[in-house]
Symmetry: C2
Subunit: 186 residues, 2 copies
DNA sequence: ACCTGAACACCGTTCAAGT
DNA sequence: ACCTGAACACCGTTCAAGT
């Protein structure tokens, strides 16, 4: 059953880093945070655990790459009112949370991984709020409100998922109410 | 250096469950989530790891007890306007997050531990919103907004803590803005 | 009832090798 | 450059004892 040491012959199609990321997300989604180990992932890929380290450095590096893959494409649309663009950005983020609840939980427990995507989303929202005409101070306040609300909804969603199908959880309604409040303030 | 097997003589003052909880929080606050292990806690307490299991069942049981100790006393004041009571409840919760950021992160990664305290706080806020005169539907919406905002702020605070002192992070200002918006809607 | 050591089945990661 | 097995220093937890 053991495979020979060293680099395998090229015919035996190598597992690409993209394969590793896709399988890592499958494993995390299907089995949860506790079952998501380097060794379990290697076994699922039929490769040596150390091969993963070669491509991603360490476990946090792998998680970082997974987060980039999942959240990297989340961005605001180029057209529309600032309000609509903010709403679309936040809904896009939330849609990915629904898709990969385990990744959310994992990110929130790894301080060294979390910041990148969080900062990018935060800065997008801040830009859009200034575009919408808020003062610097108002903008700071509403970045805080919108970002924290979104992260909190992510935690709640991720916790609630995996017990039956994800509920139509009123995220969109709550977001609309928040953005109505924001427009009323200006 | 090894201690004899079995129950120690009574003179050697036993470590109480309360001591274990207090030391567990010290360890988590001082060293972070990754360093918070049953074995490290046992060494700090100068006892056998298995003694902890005797009192708390398992690691999640210990974390649950820590969470009850930290968040169990968080409650709304008996007097004041509903708005003031909601604000006080949420600030009391946030104050505990600032005190034990590591516990917040730990809770958000343990699905089996999280629900208890979260549900209690959620229900308190729901009651206060109904007291404030919101309809059932409005109340559901604003529970969602306030609870998710609070949890998101907790994540942000817990992530930001431990790099220097915790910033005066505008939580109170954002909360006021939210509650102003809530009053404007009614 | 309360506490213990030893053992089990795992982890992430380092290292020195292989091709 | 890319992949490997073996080993290291850990984990949480079970179990069969001890007093």
């Amino acid at each position: 059953m053991k495979r020979p040491r060293g680099r395998p012959p090229r015919s035996k199609a190598a597992v690409s880093p993209e394969d590793m990321l896709a399988t890592a997300l499958d494993l995390l989604d299907a089995r949860g945070v506790d079952a998501f180990t380097m060794r379990a992932l290697a076994e699922r890929l039929q490769i040596n655990p150390m091969t993963i380290y070669h491509h991603f450095g360490d476990r946090d590096g792998l998680i970082r790459a997974m987060s980039e893959r999942v959240y990297g494409t989340v961005c605001a649309p180029q057209t529309g009112t600032p309000r609509d663009r903010i709403a679309a950005l936040m809904r896009a983020y939330h849609a990915q949370v629904l898709r990969h609840p385990g990744l959310t939980l994992l990110l929130f427990s790894r301080r060294t991984v979390f910041p990148e995507q969080a900062r990018r989303i935060t800065e997008s929202i801040a830009r859009l709020l200034v575009e919408a005409g808020l003062t610097a101070q108002q903008s700071r306040l509403w970045v805080h409100i919108l970002v924290d609300f979104t992260h909190g909804a992510a935690v709640a969603t991720a916790m609630g998922a995996r017990d039956g199908p994800v509920p139509a959880d009123g995220y969109d309604d709550a977001l609309d109410e928040l953005l109505n409040g924001l427009e009323g303030r200006q």
